[in-house]
Amino acid sequence: MNRGDKFLLAGILLVSLLILAALYSRFSRYSTAIKAAQAVVVVQGKVIRRVTLPVPGKSSFVVRGRIGPSTVEIDGAQVRIREAPCSGQVCVRQGWISHPGQSVVCIPGEIIIRIEGANPLDAVTR
């Protein structure tokens, strides 16, 4: 093997590395989608909290929506709006959600809680 061959070999190695890097950068976008499930709380268009699921035991916290405070409860892998200040109580009645792709929405309070995560459904028709 002369010097030229060595250069060629080095070149080929470099080429393979670059291709690998390029493929990896594409692949990594997909791998970021495969992550632990998270409950994402959005109030009036802003993400105010992300909770990685499941959470051991029961816990709850208060979020301030457009019309007042609502209580969000987490129990293991499931999430719900436990109390809301609105008259309709649609979000409270909806109960627990636990599958990635699902969401609970409080329309008067402009609160969205959705579950993002591993192999999610793109959406749910309801």
Partner: protein, 355 residues
């Protein structure tokens, strides 16, 4: 010789650099946004290369939905700007008096509604307004109305008396007291208009979720079919089936969305315009069609029909697939969904394989 080989490497490396750069440039980006509109949450997700284009496409799509929402708004306060910009309010106010000149999109919606009113022998009817008001599903305290009031509301329903002139762009409810309610069509129609707006901006991958009315463009970011769950009608966090969807819409009508219970009976907001009472044959019907406006009409139309009639009508009308859960917990779907739709067990519903 050595030098020549070395020189050969330079274009090779250059070529590679370009390849890598182009791969990077082609990286598809996601842009997602939510807005509260038409009494629901509208989520739009788009994919493409240029973030600026994605952003302006989505805001144009929302603007289009906003425009349609204002045209059809049935409940604005009289005297407000919203009241004056609602074509539906103006048509209702002039019922029995005179035809009203309206937006071409309102004419398009009403023509579609009238067509399916005729094709369904009255099972689908946008002149159901007086009945909806009577049951009060739009407000805080829905209730069972007395039978004589239902009878008089039924007398005011009938799309025969909705006169449309597409050349003059006018709509007219012939009798005083008649009232349009576009609840079964407007959201789907607006969703379709929003999607067509995204297309005009060159978007080729998108998902619009309008409060559970789904319209997808192309395939998802993994370049496979969008995976759409169908909600379990009796468990808010449950899914009864998973539907793969490409370039199509899936719209669901269910008895669980707005309802009250009295004497152990569930009374929900999807009223049969022929009987005056909530339709009783199904818990949920999902309609899958190429157009979101059509799918919206179909989901209500087939929900109102008894299950076997819905299956027959879907086959007869064509251009639509349906998935439904009957009131006695049976799962049915049109034959062409077989092998595509995944039915999840565990919901306690009865599904015969091969149907």
């Amino acid at each position: 010789m050595k030098r020549r080989r070395l020189l050969l490497l330079i274009p090779l490396l250059l070529f590679l650099a370009i390849l890598v750069a182009s791969l990077y440039g082609r990286r598809s980006r996601e842009y997602a946004s939510d807005q509260f509109l038409m009494d629901t949450l509208i989520s739009i997700k788009v994919y493409g290369r240029d973030p600026k284009v994605l952003k302006s496409a989505v805001s144009a799509a929302y603007a289009e939905m906003h425009r349609i929402a204002e045209l059809v708004d049935g409940f604005p306060q009289p005297g407000t700007a919203a009241y004056n910009s609602s074509d539906v309010c103006r048509i209702n106010r002039q019922a029995g008096l005179q035809p009203v000149r309206v937006d071409p999109d309102v004419i398009a919606m009403l023509l579609l509604a009238k067509k399916y009113n005729e094709l369904s022998d009255g099972a689908f009817d946008v002149t159901v307004g007086p009945l909806m008001d009577l049951w009060g599903f739009g407000g805080d305290s829905p209730h069972i109305p007395p039978p004589e009031q239902i009878r008089s509301a039924l007398a005011l329903i009938g799309s025969r008396d909705l006169l449309l002139d597409s050349r003059q762009q006018t709509a007219f409810l012939r009798r005083r007291g008649m009232k349009l309610d576009l609840g079964a069509i407007a959201k789907g129609y607006a969703t379709e208009k929003a999607l067509q707006t995204l297309k005009k901006y060159g978007i080729r991958k998108a998902l619009i979720d309008a409060g559970g009315n789904i319209r997808v463009l192309g395939r998802n970011q993994h370049d496979t079919s969008w995976s759409i769950g169908i909600r379990d009608p009796r468990k808010p966090d449950g899914i009864v089936a998973i539907l793969p969807l490409e370039d199509a819409a899936a719209v669901t009508s269910g008895d669980y969305y707005r309802y009250f219970e009295a004497g152990g009976v569930r009374y929900h907001h999807i009223l049969d315009p022929r009987s005056g009472y909530p339709a009783t044959g199904n818990m949920t019907v999902t309609a899958i069609a190429a157009d979101a406006g059509l799918a919206d009409v179909f989901s209500t139309l087939f929900f109102v029909l008894p299950p076997h009639k819905a299956m027959e009508a879907a086959a007869r009308l064509g251009g639509v697939d349906i998935f439904l859960v009957t009131a006695n917990r049976r799962i049915l779907h049109t034959p062409s969904l077989k092998g595509r739709i995944e039915i999840l067990s565990g919901g306690g519903y009865h599904y015969e394989q091969g149907r």
